[in-house]
Symmetry: C4
Subunit: 218 residues, 4 copies
């Protein structure tokens, strides 16, 4: 379908808009459902409420790390879509697979939170969390590489340097998460600390170095 002028361009753009609405919905729900894990934890203790609120500190950390991680994935999805001027059905399906892994995240998050104090079962929990994040990173990279191969879905005016900069920044994701996952076989606690550190790195990286303005500048 050749690109028509004016109004039609806007109508055709609805497709990328709907992908974003669906994706943003999954991101928002997956992030918000994380609180149910904290809810479950508080119900289990028998001590008085004040003590239990302190005892479940791993739940708060797990909640924050996973929420921020989903926030970063959402923010990166934003960056990807800003470079894409069109979508096709393969791209939609690749997005569905990415979202499948994002919506899965509350599950291993709960496992890690539940086993962070009594660490006898932290290893499988950390492996489950890490495996989810590794698969997610692979889905994410596939999505991006599919979009940029032969500039398949890129906007006409998308800048080559910006595109290769994004590629460079996405490449280390999967190996980093895979490494952090494998660390769980030696020390589950070190593995979990690494997951937190990776999220923290991305937040700092985004906030201090990634301050390019998005949207019109006067």
């Amino acid at each position: 379908m050749a690109a028509p002028a004016g109004c039609d361009r806007r109508l055709a753009g609805v497709s990328t808009a709907r992908l974003e609405t669906f994706a943003d919905g999954v991101f928002a729900i997956a992030a918000t459902l994380l609180i149910l894990n904290v809810d479950t934890q508080i119900g289990e203790g028998t001590a008085d409420l004040g003590k239990r609120l302190v005892e479940i500190w791993p739940s708060y950390i797990a909640y924050a790390v996973s929420f921020v991680t989903i926030g970063i994935i959402w923010s990166n999805h934003h960056t990807v879509m800003a470079q894409c001027g069109r979508v096709n059905r393969t791209f939609l399906m690749l997005n569905v697979f990415l979202l499948l892994t994002v919506a899965f995240l509350p599950f291993p998050t709960r496992l890690v939170a539940e086993n962070l104090r009594d660490r006898s079962e932290l290893e499988p929990a950390a492996l489950a969390y890490g495996a989810t994040m590794t698969v997610m990173s692979v889905c994410y990279l596939s999505l991006w590489l599919y979009a940029i191969t032969d500039r398949r879905l890129l906007r006409d005016d998308s800048d080559r340097r910006t595109v290769s900069g994004i590629t460079r920044s996405y490449l280390p994701g999967a190996p980093t998460y895979l490494t952090a996952t494998l660390v769980a076989l030696v020390s589950p606690l070190a593995s979990v600390a690494l997951f937190g550190a990776i999220a923290l790195f991305y937040v700092i990286d985004s906030s201090f170095f990634g301050d390019e303005v998005i949207g019109p500048v006067p």
Copy 2:
């Protein structure tokens, strides 16, 4: 209401936009709620966590199949709405019925996942899943046939060949799901395998053959 020019066209278009926002919301939530089923499953075993994580493999498959199925329905809804230039209240109601069946899907998904290893009660679970998918396919087809009858809600510039191509691709849905459902009366496991195969077929079909570009091409 006759179509006014320019700006008013945009304002009037809000109606199709809101249908899409509501629908995308239901699609996104129904898909994301599926993880709660996996959550429930892990809590039930008494074995150590590593073993339980392996034992609940049917939950992962059920999660993936239903998530991808909802993703495909969402992607098809996208295709339908791209052909529609306007909506009326009957169309809105037909959409509400479709979404009612989509939001119902997490329930039979859980039933299938719970009964896939110990198959003594897989038959009613497979029947419930299949019945939901069959009714969903009927709702979907009704929606589409309502929109295209006398080109009732089609865009002026929607292509006759595209429209009949979509019709042809939607017609087999309900009979296929009904057949797979009835197979459960003979072999529930074969029925469940068919549900997975249908989802897989749609993913491959979308990704390899349905690569038409959606959105403007340079």
Copy 3:
């Protein structure tokens, strides 16, 4: 703030768009959460799955009636917003109160579903459901009356006859639901049947008589 021309009009319109996004989100989530009630019901029986799936029939009906009811409220919200060209903070707050009652609906829905077979406690359940719907209708009417008083938030080109037609169709909502609620004091079952009948009436009314086209006509 006076209405600027062209581009700025679009930017200003963001406000009504955001109200719709938030509202559609609450509508979609409240509707989709209804399935959790069905989920809870199936878990309680001890009979085999096939029997339990049949026994919880009230859950399906309650699910369908509440889902369709939310669908109708969403569709009417659509009608209201199509007449409004602007919003103010009072209107936003009135919307928050309406959404508060919509998001409350899954709770009395579950109560009715749970008590529909063993009717010993159906009366308080029906009263809770009816009270929610009555308050919701009052919120809805307040919202509309606020918007139209002195044409406060109406679009310049909104038609007087359309507006008074909408008013006439919304006026009977609250008294109808109040009556159906009070019937529960005599016969809870008749009251519940009335709630179903009201939803059915609105569906038929929307589908057969309310077929005005929404959106541009060629």
Copy 4:
């Protein structure tokens, strides 16, 4: 990236739109999930349903206060974004932190609701609620101050007086919530009453004094 004219301005604006979609999603879900707390409460009593429905009155109040509080935060986010013409990644991250606190709210809301009748454990519940609201207010203020410093993200045509008016109205939030939180150390009940009063104040303030029209005026 310099601001291009016409069409590109619209495309670039997608970024603020996506922030709003994600944020509105989290607001809508967090608000709607509050009903699950009421659901949990009704299940616990052993008295007949009518009595239990009356007994759990604190759940209704907690539900309403938190729902309205989220509604006000959403409405204020609306006000902030209306002043912002662009976003950057630091701003996105600040939003993620704000949303993290908003999505956390259903948890302390449940704690307060559960302990409002039997007040032996109301103190830690009130402290948890108040701490969440205080942190939320700080996140909110940080977000706003970041956007307006050197007019970093403000629209070109955003009015200096409007901006400083918004700043003045946001400054008291955190200290007010901190004070109400500390009151819990003396009287948890007074603290909870203050939380309700603050929400009520904002509703009245919004509805009666903040009636400036948002969106185009004829």
